[in-house]
Amino acid sequence: MKLAYWMYAGPAHIGTLRVASSFKNVHAIMHAPLGDDYFNVMRSMLERERDFTPVTASIVDRHVLARGSQEKVVDNISRKDKQERPNLIVLTPTCTSSILQEDLQNFVDRASTISDSDVILADVNHYRVNELQAADRTLEQVVRYYLEKARRQGNLNLSLTDKPSANIIGIFTLGFHNQHDCRELKRLLKDLGIEINQVIPEGGLVENLHKLPKAWFNLVPYREVGLMTAKYLEKEFGMSYISTTPMGVVDIANCIRQIQERINLLAPILLNEKVNYEPYIDEQTRFISQAAWFSRSIDCQNLTGKKAVVFGDATHAASITKILACEMGIRVSCAGTYCKHDEEWFNEQVQNFCDEILVTDDHTEVGDMIARIEPSAIFGTQMERHIGKRLDIPCGVISSPVHIQNFTLGYRPFLGYEGTNQVADLVYNSFTLGMEDHLLEIFGGHDTKEVITKSLSTDTDLTWNSESQLELNKIPGFVRGKIKRNTEKFARQNGVTEITVGIMYAAKEALNA
């Protein structure tokens, strides 16, 4: 047993449901007790989904416990088949139901003989894998199922598309800024003259999965979900895949160069030409994206050597660490991830870019680390944002687990060239906010409730001598008004009519005390 207050990654069935409900016209049936369908709440509330989440439960209750599910699961599957006519029904066990050790595969076999939909059993071990691993597994399972089905039926089409094309694998519901990232990736590929063959699972149709091998290559933007599918496609159909996350100017360029390499393996034969993306990379880097210029600008110079801490899923934590360290000159004191299953990869990615590495799924350990390091800014999940609030350190949210705030209506990709701008804004805003706070602290604290004068006009009985006037003007604009008010208040309290530099500093000292 483990005493736990909070967890970074959810239970396995959430991953399965996220993949299943991302596909169009796929329905998931959970074998679960009443109340376990809160996935519907998460999707409906966080994603502000307009459609009913295609997930229902076949309820495990006392009767099921006593006598087994018997006909219940099969009935529920065939009922759903008639009501919604989905292409695929995924039967999903939960941690509770998996202890019952009912023969769910048997239910699936029976149900698939009587329903028009395809029926599969999600094959994940609820006590060994987390949400992300389960999502990865389920996506591979669905793809494998349909490709094998197509092979059996002989309608597998292996001929490549005429023009270069790609599959984007791993965009799905409740993913961190996934919708925006997807749009940005499509734009990037379009700029490179590459067609999108399919995007899965988000918005994908399982009927079209047999056409996956028509693409020239697969792009897997996130480590967490999609790699298993890409590896399966590579093994079965020899499709190559690119798993460099195009986040940050440097890695976008790396990613595009890898794409170029893949295309140039085939293009001379199929198109009688070679592609060269270097001019595109150069143009985008220097002039379209603002991030490269930002890294040279004096704003960014001021961030040099500032301490930051990064924590999140493997993809985002690694990419942000590299951006902070290489592209902005910020010192990453600690980079960490809760993806313990991907520890080796993470270590390899960040080891030269940070002082220490923390791989844990215990949020108290992360909190202690942050308290010890006292960085100027944190880049983490919603949990780190709250740790930051408690410690008075600003935090930019860069990874799941997320909050409704992270499902923005506006366009906020993290990937691609627009993503570099967003990331730069996020980083810069986190630090300047911290800076402002710090200045306020130095020059007399936060807003006080007492009103000194009722009017806002400046003609008072107080005069500032020329030196103090000069001194006042040296104070940064955004806190100047406050300093002025505080000093005048202090002067009045002490019966002083002429304000000198001495009075100013006496006021500051009095307020600090």
């Binding site: 009443l34 376990d36 709440v41 989904e49 495990v60």
Partner: protein
Amino acid sequence: MSIKISETPTFECETGNYHTFCPISCVAWLYQKIEDSFFLVVGTKTCGYFLQNALGVMIFAEPRYAMAELEEGDISAQLNDYQELKRLCLQIKKDRNPSVIIWIGTCTTEIIKMDLEGMAPKLENEIGIPIIVARANGLDYAFTQGEDTVLAAMAHRCPEQENLIGNQQRNDKKSIEKLFSFLPIETDKRPKQSIINKKNRISLVLFGSLPSTVASQLSLELNRQSINVSGWLPAQRYTDLPILGNNVYVCGVNPFLSRTATTLMRRRKCKLIGAPFPIGPDGTRAWIEEICSVFGIEAQGLAEREQQIWESLRNYLNLVHGKSVFFMGDNLLEISLARFLIRCGMIVYEIGIPYMDKRYQAAELTFLQATCKKMCIPMPRIVEKPDNYNQIQRMRELQPDLAITGMAHANPLEARGINTKWSVEFTFAQIHGFTNAKDVLELVTRPLRRNNNLENLGWTDLVREG
């Protein structure tokens, strides 16, 4: 409208494929209510993830609850449950030093037949902190019934009347003083009240967890009728649990507390006052009147008080009058809310409810029937264990002005032009007593008021066909 007019309530039972919260969610409000408690939910990651997501921000306030997360070794009995729980409880004792630890049994502990009830007394002796076991699992219960299981378990821990009569009088006095600190003007009435309760040696204990302000509002209402509330189950602190025994009358304030009521009657020999629940001014009045009649007191000034409240609600009533409501059902407050809304002039098409205890809710059901007759409105159908899919089909046909529903369906229904109010808000808002009737209508009218603001923009239907 395809609704048949009938006089008697019709009960239906559907498939039970509906959305509701898991009953372990009761820790969210109970740990805040019982200030010196610690709730330990013995379950899996699934339970933990639910609490984390359902309770949102609260988790960051260092809550007095935690998961005892079962791992593979616990499930396959490679680890000793007793030793494991002991280790965690000692840690809780060290970090928090609570007056009571409440173990919440979940589906998993049911399935692997973990003997929490057997282990608790042993461990309690060993570590010196009371341990209460409540089986609030999704196999047996829905949402608010979680509180019912906790309170039923807690009823066993309330001190016994006989041994404590001396103390009780002292307690009575103290609690009166506490109550009157709110209303110093009425202090002079004190002797009269104490006489009534003391003469008969009868005390009244109310059960149901309410925010402390609402609890004192209700106590005050009864005080005005010269009835002294001698205790609440649960009290603000575990150490202040009320005294129970065969001279104690008990009355529920919430419709989902049937197990607690049964336990109080059968195990603690208390006498149950069956009354409608104090939700809405009509319900509050009926509740007080019922209690008064048991104590042989003629209720004073309630009609005026109720009228006064209705007057103050006029603006809201104008908004809701003649509008129709559909309760999908997920928290067992549905009957009382529907009764109140019908009295407000609304038409209720359907009352979905997870579980219907016709004995415990008898007075409320009779009151619902009387209200329908009075308002000349057909008795709504009451659907136990509803089927959400069927309900949505029915709603398509009926096009109600308002659907009271869980969060899983709220956004999709809104996108289809059906106004919704999240049912969960009724569980967390203050809805009891005269004073809070306004809050109920504030919730109910919010979507209607929103509509008045957004009228004529032409975008009510926001889904693509097909």
